[in-house]
Amino acid sequence: MNALVGLLLVDLALLALAIAGAIRRNNALVYGGALALSTLGLALALTHFLGRAAPQTLVLPIGLPWLGAHFRLDALSAFFLALAHLGGAVASLYGLGYGRHEQEPGRVLPFYPAFLAGMSLVPLADDAYTFLVAWEFMSLSSWALVTAHHRSAENRNAGFVYLVMAAFGALMLLLAFGVLAGASGGYAFAAMRAHPPGAGVAALALALVVLGAGSKAGLAPLHVWLPLAHPAAPSHVSALMSGVMTKIAIYAFVRFAFDLLGAPDWRWSLPILLLGAATAALGVLSATMEVDLKRLLAFSTVENIGLIFLSLGLALAFKADDLSRAAALAFTAAMLHALNHMLFKSLLFFGAGAVLTATGARNLDRLGGLFDRMRWTSLAMLIGAAAIAGLPPLNGFVSEWLMLQAVLLGPAFPQWTLKLLALAMGAVVALVAALAAAAFARMFGIAFLGRPRSPEAASATDADPTMRYAMAGLAGACLLAGIFPGVLIDALKPLAEAAVGAAMPLQAKIPWTSIAPIAESRSSYNGLLVLIFFVASGSAAAFVIHRVASAAIRRAPAWDCGFPNADPATQYTAVSFAEPIRRVYGPFAFAARAEVDMPRPGEARPARITVHMSDRIWRGLYAPIGRAVAAVATWLNPLQFLTIRQYLSVVFGALLALLLLLAIRS
């Protein structure tokens, strides 16, 4: 069967499942059905992608009468569909267990399959109308999921901010399509490809797409909805929004920048590089400061989106300068990171959901000691945290290493601006990777190690079996993708060829699963070797310790500095862990101020330290906009209370004014 038709049928079946979920609020039906359908979709997309089949197209007579609905399945859309369906399948498996703890299943079950359908329809769209309809469907169904727990004011606020940002993004994409289609109205992507826009139009469309796709992906300063919406949504939905939906936004950006806009100009890459770098740095710093587990993960998503955009910016610059091998490297790194981020971010959100289910707490300072109580979850979270922190032999290391390899090709740029900027980007990637490691060491250490900081954490039990399987599967995938990255890089070949006209050298030829992005003489990495080293040195150390010292595992009271106070609150806290980093970056990034209230000698009250931090972006950009809207609304408010005759007079006056204008102007 035609894979495209099959994928469309999968989407249709998901929609039917959404209706079924609305009628029969049956957990197993919805998540089981979504799992089966997503697996089918994954198989279809992978068959097309790995089989390197030719692009398939289909025009259905629905939608706008003169346009119809165009669908197309090519390498790029097949890759993102495979990613979306993989994420959907794992989240559905997780949902089978997690959904049982849901307080209001009626507000989640109908929208969950609809959200999956929306996300997996966007990459198939081949005209502006279908694309925007699918895009909005994705936005609205995810909005419904964000506001599922609508009784808390915090969640309603998150839903509102998300809706406003989604509407803004869709408007920008609409304008971008309008600019590209031009006056003739060629809204099919094929028509846009056939007539690449002029330089000015292309730059305008690119700016609009960066705003439109960037607001959905979480590019600073449009990322404000992410840390609000992700904690509000149920955890498997957070995983999907973070792991898959942001990738669909990346797809939209790639579709425009590398396909529809024609040959790039090197200057295009500048705003993308700078925005990507700023996003990555801001995201990781916020993640390091954050004490809410799910908000922390959301900020980390912002960081990773920044890295992906940075890499795509490099690819765009290399492509514009005809350095196609380097462009292929940067592009492959970006795509690989998109896939990797989907794997480990879904895993981490699943873990956060398991912790939330077990303890009811998201605040790191109410957790702790979960390693003994939630063994599966903890191990999975450990692997996920190590992967996202970019530690070998896991997958996060590979893609970030490839990004750095691409940065190291920066001196090949003919423009001095790019040569210098590439170096700065290398510094940003290194800084971000280091800070991410700190953020996740903190996350894991505070939440899972030490002693429980609350009675809920002390009585936590491990997650349901299906939740464990989903997490274990993703942890295994992170490990496998880190050990055998060559297979993935070779699989991504058609993607890079379609986008930048070249591909990385074939990795399968290199023995012992090594990868060499440019040439083996220059740099190479072998995940298997690192794993063997880790395992060997780790077990040797364990053997030596247990052999030479004692074989028994002892549990002793924690060192209390001589004060016999067993309160777990005396442990290192999340805030104290982040303190050194806050001291260095806080004043600049968050306008952080610390006030120390030290008691005078002889006073019995405790010393207090109070830290004030404020979100510069919210205060500087969004708050003024909000105030302006409120002011205009207040000013226009009397219009709500006119009499019928006054309303008619307003209409009449407007008509007369326009006619007068016509009479005077023409």
Binding site: N637, P638, F641, T643, I644, R645, L648, S649, V651, F652, L655, L656, L659, L660, L662, A663, S666
Partner: protein
């Protein structure tokens, strides 16, 4: 186009504008209804003439619809409604008659200036017709704005519709569908306003729209 064709259609369309001024001037309800019926009659004559001149048989149907509904049925229905309401009051104007007439003159002048600007693109008949139609529309709106009584607002609205029909008949190649839609919208409006009138009478014991304003909620 021969001189006679042009002159007669000019006469009829001008007559329509003249009757609009009579509507604007008239302050008693029954007389207002009669003038409205006269306007609809002039409209149907204008449409018949257009049908004859343009050789469009379907315009005869439009004229018949206009005559049947607007010159006969609607005035009759409103007569009955007013009878049942026991309403024999004079219509209150918000603005004085003199000022209203002056504003009406300005509206007609504006309509003619706007339409005469598009000299070269349309033929003379269509242009003149559109100018008159726009004038009728503006006068209808003006009437809705300056009257306080619901019945006269309704009549202002329907005379506005008459202007639309005149424009539709004058423009060449307007399909019949549009005219039926316009006629239908008037009937719907009549039904809605009929209900509105009775509800208003039931609830508040009067047909002055001012009483609605008390129910609009508090002003902030």
């Amino acid at each position: 186009m021969s001189g006679l064709d042009f002159d007669v259609s000019h006469l009829l369309a001008g007559g329509l504008v003249l009757v609009s001024f009579m509507l604007l001037y008239q302050t008693r309800i029954y007389a207002l209804l009669n003038v409205y019926a006269a306007q609809a009659f002039v409209l149907s004559l204008a449409v018949v003439w257009q049908a004859f001149v343009q050789d469009k048989p379907h315009l005869y149907a439009t004229a018949a619809v206009a005559f049947l509904f607007k010159a006969a049925l609607i005035p009759y229905a409103l007569h009955r409604a007013i009878d049942r309401l026991g309403l024999r009051r004079e219509v209150e104007n918000v603005v004085g008659i003199g000022a209203t007439m002056l504003a009406g003159l300005a509206c007609v002048a504006l309509a003619i200036v706007v339409m005469l600007r598009i000299e070269n693109e349309a033929d003379a008949l269509a242009r003149e017709d559109l100018a008159f139609a726009l004038a009728v529309i503006l006068l209808g709106l003006l009437m809705m704005v300056v009257r306080r009584n619901v019945v006269s607002m309704v009549i202002g609205f329907m005379s506005l519709e008459n202007g639309l029909i005149l424009a539709a008949a004058g423009a060449k190649g307007m399909p019949l569908v549009v005219e039926f839609a316009v006629a239908f919208s008037v009937v719907v409006a009549l039904v809605v306003i009929y209900v509105f009138l009775f509800r208003l009478q039931d609830r508040f014991g009067g047909v002055d729209v001012g009483v609605l304003e008390d129910f609009q909620g508090s002003r902030r």
